[in-house]
Symmetry: C2
Subunit: 418 residues, 2 copies
């Protein structure tokens, strides 16, 4: 099945909005083995939209459109759908119910404009909207599937998850094929090294496929198994996952969309442990990332952004002589920061981070990208050295990820390697 | 002049990479009054690329292509250009010089693959690459302009800034028109309120145009003046800017691409002042944002992420009774956090932030989105109340921006309104 994604909206064509919708949809389609052949963006303009619908349906089995479903005058996508498919609008009872319930809950009065959102093209199945008022549109005609969703990312994502992807998977199944995918998230290892660790891929995979998807914070491994039997597909997937884990398990922190901060948060919660952070070069990014998780107050005790040496000495009890002797960017200071924030906060784990993020600040023996991360818990104190790149923001992000991964490995008892 | 943007690359079609290049290019074109009518993404596939070139050149005056210029086998854009324009590759002496200089500097040996990057289509003007090795391509034919740049964002951006935009502006000028643009960045005011404050737009603008561009952190105002005379255009732009400042100046923090953290950093540096932050709900995001600026150690003293009440009491000397009486999310605690971090750090300015970011944590009288921000300097201590939305991450970002803007206004002596 080939897919064509159309994004509608003037705001995309003037660069005001980055088209994250298209990449989200493309990723989810790719996950269920649907090949996206083209992504386009067109203006809120009837002629442009109708032309694009035609090109898309002429060349693809599946067309997914987002944007232009709102209630204002420049939202013309629904009108274009009615025109293109030569159908008419009819009121959907279930959509109207959804809208009425939503307005009642929010104590807002329902206007004509809002009610009009319950009108859907007669030949379409409405896709219900759990977050906003505009329903999505699902049309099947001449062996093609044509889907329209709102451009608001949260609404589109919710429809994709609850309706579009399950229904598209069902369609693929009808064709007698079972496709199972699994994503393993790794961090702390380069794509090329990971590739080497996995060894002979033919032996590992058999008929299955493996994609290496590098991101700034790690490499995702996507395994795809195709089979005629559901049970078989599942078993083969589990088997390959186990083989990969046996070769590179220490680098795998999670599955699917899981983030490292979610995984670390869960581990801390399970163990009823609290963490405290002492950050110099990351400037608060580790604390910020940990506290992006709702409920993190259960395990995040405090964070100290000890940018100045005074802060390191006064709050974290780092020894002034150590700073004078080894410099603020040194394994000794990272360790004392971790120890200090642990003992002064009473947390179970302390993290200390110091480094040179660039572009300035390097010395002859300390290059931009040099980072030391200290970790202390009740039993262990350890420090690691890293050398990242030249970009300040990327260095902050990579240091944050390395620090969280160090916590994960320590909590799981994964020994340090090389 | 109408433009068509083509992004080439399989990684975009599987959703692995978000297409930030297209929105960057669209924004910069829009800034010089070029209308982007379509943005498309196609695979690293010769037939798809050649078809796209044809459609684009058939329908537009300007075509901008990114991606597929690298040295590996799946980078086929240059070959497609040669085929499409029925030309041949010739070595560019200046590009070869650039590549040789770059390799010499990095002490790396030049291979045949690298040398081959100096080959450009005979009918093209090469666009020199200051960051990488692949040159861009600029072709003018049949009154159309066809531009190709690498997909690496930093390389594309550098070419846009130094070559593409200045040359396109030159083209527009030849047509006898001078277009001047200016962007004013506002924060702390909703689009609709800003609109009201500006009053009669016809009176304000005359023949000029004004676009309201809302982002998560504020609304950008883009003024566009068209004239036949350079001096006239500049004067009219300045005049309109002044009028806007007289009506909504307090909300304008910067011009062009400036960020609020850059502006606040500059103000602190000029005044030789230091700032310290005490964050609860933002979890370190304010410190992280301030320290994203290179050289911020000159004015950022320390940050305390006092997630627990113990941290607030022990480090910031917040009164336990105040917490017991008013709760951790209260104007009193925000104020004491600001005072505490200022006095304990010895910084000139202290910021204290406490709130409920959601989705959980609300009480009957304290909804999700409630935030108090305290500010203290040598002369003034003040606290502000805000109510943001329901999304945890957006709430963190909006609180961060509000805190930085409070600092900016206090430093500039802008009185509080309403």
């Amino acid at each position: 099945m080939n897919a064509y994604i159309i994004s509608i909206g003037d705001e995309l064509l003037i660069g005001q909005t980055v088209n994250t919708n298209a990449s989200f949809i493309a990723e989810k389609l790719s996950d269920i083995n649907i090949t996206v052949t083209k992504i386009t963006t067109v203006a809120d303009d009837e002629e442009a939209i109708l032309n694009e619908f035609k090109t898309a349906l002429d060349t693809s089995d599946l067309v997914i459109v987002t944007g232009g479903l709102g209630p204002t005058h420049d939202d013309i996508t629904r009108t274009c759908v009615v025109k293109y498919f030569d159908t008419k609008l009819v009121e959907s009872k279930e959509v109207l119910d959804d809208i009425e319930t939503m307005f009642a809950k929010r104590n807002r009065e329902l206007t004509g404009i809002n009610k009009a959102q319950a009108l859907v093209p007669e030949i379409a199945t409405p896709i219900r909207n759990k977050i906003g008022t505009a329903p999505g549109i699902w049309i099947e005609k001449d062996n093609k599937i044509f889907i329209v969703m709102p451009g608001v990312p949260a609404e589109m994502k919710s429809m994709m998850k609850d309706f579009v992807i399950p229904n598209l998977e069902e369609k693929t199944k009808e064709a007698g094929k079972v496709i199972k995918k699994s994503i393993l998230q790794t961090t702390g290892i380069a794509e090329s090294s990971l590739f080497e660790k996995l060894g002979d891929l033919d032996e590992l995979l058999g008929e299955a496929k493996l994609a290496f998807l590098p991101t700034i914070l790690g490499v995702k491994l996507r395994i795809t198994v195709e089979d005629t039997d559901e049970e078989n597909a599942k078993n083969r997937l589990v088997e390959i996952e186990q083989k990969i884990r046996s070769k590179a398990g220490r680098y795998i922190f999670g599955k699917g969309d899981e983030t490292l901060e979610e995984v670390v948060g869960r581990l801390l919660k399970e163990r009823e442990m609290k963490i405290a952070t002492a950050e110099s070069c990351t400037g608060g990014l580790i604390a910020h990332t940990l506290t992006n998780i709702s409920g993190s107050s259960a395990y995040f005790e405090r964070g100290i952004v000890s940018y100045s040496n005074a802060a390191k000495v006064e709050i974290l009890r780092v020894n002034e002589d150590t700073i004078a002797e080894h410099g603020a960017v040194s394994p000794e200071v990272a360790m004392q920061m971790a120890e200090g924030v642990k003992s002064t906060s009473g947390a179970d784990i302390g993290i200390g981070v110091t480094g040179i993020m660039g572009p300035t600040g390097a010395t002859t023996d300390k290059p931009v990208g040099l980072v030391y991360i200290g970790y202390c818990d009740e039993k262990v104190c350890t420090v690691r050295k890293y050398i990242f790149g030249n970009d300040r923001l990327l260095n902050k992000m990579r240091t944050m990820q390395a620090a969280l991964d160090l916590v994960r490995r320590q909590l799981l008892g994964i020994s340090s390697d090389d």
